[in-house]
């Protein structure tokens, strides 16, 4: 498996209710194992209820694993309104954000309005450089780098060294949506 080939992880696996910290820890182990291999799509398909204690364990582990992340994308999919609402609350507590797919759009669960608008603009550009996006958003480059760091730690954006750069180290960025569609 290559680093960016996303692995699908079904949180429910036939269980409609996800509860307790102990089970959350076991789920966090599965997430960690998958993330060690590369990008991950975490699906809550057929999950009706996920308790905050369960989600807290998963989110906390993800927060640790994605700190300083550059290469991996993590996308949450198929959450019902309840699960999404609970996830947002848990993410808010940890001052975190995670990427999610709503319809065909990539969005953020948690995170600031600024981070959300940056992701929305990044999605229009597919592959992009930081300078391109800074120009598009009319923000200074250091400011944009901060936002991109936040989006990479949310698993919403990944980056790789730009081989075509002639001077210094340059990166090309991709949103998770692009990675998933590959």
């Amino acid at each position: 498996m290559t680093m960016n080939q996303p692995q699908l992880l079904n949180m429910g696996d036939g269980t409609a209710v996800l509860s307790t910290r102990e089970r959350g820890k076991a789920a966090a182990d599965r997430v960690q194992e998958a993330l060690d291999q590369g990008s991950v799509v975490i699906s809550f398909k057929a999950v009706e209820v996920a308790t905050p204690s369960y989600l807290d364990e998963v989110v906390r582990r993800l927060g640790g694993l994605l700190r300083g992340n550059e290469e991996r994308v993590v996308v949450i999919t198929e959450t019902n309104e309840d699960v999404a609402e609970s996830l947002e609350l848990v993410l808010e507590k940890h001052k975190m954000a995670l990427a999610t797919v709503k319809g065909k759009q990539l969005e953020l669960l948690g995170g600031s309005a600024q981070l959300k608008s940056t992701l929305a603009a990044a999605q229009q550009m597919h592959g992009f450089s930081a300078a391109d996006l800074a120009k598009e958003l009319e923000v200074k480059l250091p400011n944009l780098h901060q936002r991109l760091k936040g989006l990479m730690e949310a698993g919403a954006v990944s980056r790789a060294a730009d081989e075509s750069a002639t001077r210094g180290t340059r990166h090309r960025y991709e949103t998770a949506q692009v990675t998933l569609n590959k």
Binding site: V17, V49, P52, D82
Partner: protein
């Protein structure tokens, strides 16, 4: 010999908790038969159901003798169906004794979860799903819960039960759950009770309650989650905890105070409309 325990006319909310049977003192009379007489009761809520079931389970679980429990339902026709629905399936060794000539009343659909002992997290999870579905049934008409309200209660239930199973493991009645729409349809209650002995008479119940609330804030426990999610979803809820000589209540803000003694630990959520 039979120990008779009378329910009052209005055993709801904190008034219901007064009826919880404390573990008997050593050397006290130990009757093998318990009769819970609700014949004069005219209104009941989820607290009434939870407390009655807790008392039955507590009595049957006491060691040493072959025990029986009998529940005499209210005489009043208005409340009979509601009471019997709450205690529809009393545990083995106990029975609902309908008055002579009365047939089983029609079930009250506003009882969302009849009072029952929950022994495992698998059962708690199943109940959460059941509550989510049953509270949104179309036959409840305008009383049915909105998806966000049903989701809030269903999400809180497993963690509330888990708290009981973990911290009240010595509870003689196990963990009891009951949920119901109030008779006037203006409130929905979810009650989770145990008779754990962690907080005893004379202990620092308020201190324990404050610590539990602080821990819930820290670890995003069920109680704190309920209040945060209600604020986000603009739902009007109150959360109550009663244990030992302390009562904690949240309705927009948290408050803990001295109160009448309640054995064990009872946590409840009320959705107001």
């Amino acid at each position: 010999m039979t120990q008779i325990h009378f329910l009052t006319k209005n055993p709801r909310g904190r008034h219901a908790l007064r009826h919880l049977l404390s573990p008997p003192a050593s050397g006290s009379v130990d009757d093998p038969d318990l009769e819970i007489d609700a014949s004069v009761t005219s209104v009941v809520d989820a607290f009434t159901g939870a407390v009655t079931m807790a008392n039955v389970e507590h009595h049957l679980a006491r060691p040493g003798k072959k025990r029986r429990a009998t529940i005499t339902p209210p005489r009043s026709g208005d409340v009979l169906g509601r009471f019997c629905t709450m205690l529809w399936e009393p545990p083995a060794g106990s029975e609902l004794e309908l008055p002579d000539g009365r047939t089983a009343p029609v079930r009250d659909p506003r009882v969302l979860i009849p009072a029952m002992r929950v022994a495992s997290m698998e059962e708690a999870d199943a109940l959460a799903l059941f509550l989510k579905a049953t509270s949104q049934r179309s036959d409840l008409g305008t009383a049915r819960l909105a998806p966000s309200q049903a989701g809030l209660l269903a999400t809180a239930l497993p963690d509330l039960v888990h708290n009981g199973l973990k911290h009240g493991s010595a509870s003689s009645c196990g963990v009891i759950v009951c949920a119901a729409l109030e008779a006037d349809n203006l409130e929905t209650q979810l009650v989770v009770s145990d008779l754990g002995t962690q907080v005893v008479r004379g202990g620092d119940a308020i201190g324990i309650l404050r610590e539990a609330w602080a821990r819930s804030r820290e670890d995003l426990g069920a109680l704190f989650y309920l209040t945060e999610r209600a604020k986000r979803s603009d739902l009007d809820i109150s959360v109550q905890i009663r244990t030992g000589n302390a009562a904690g209540r949240w309705r927009n803000r948290w408050n803990a105070e001295q109160a009448e003694f309640t054995p064990g630990w009872t946590a409840s959520v009320t959705l107001h409309r």
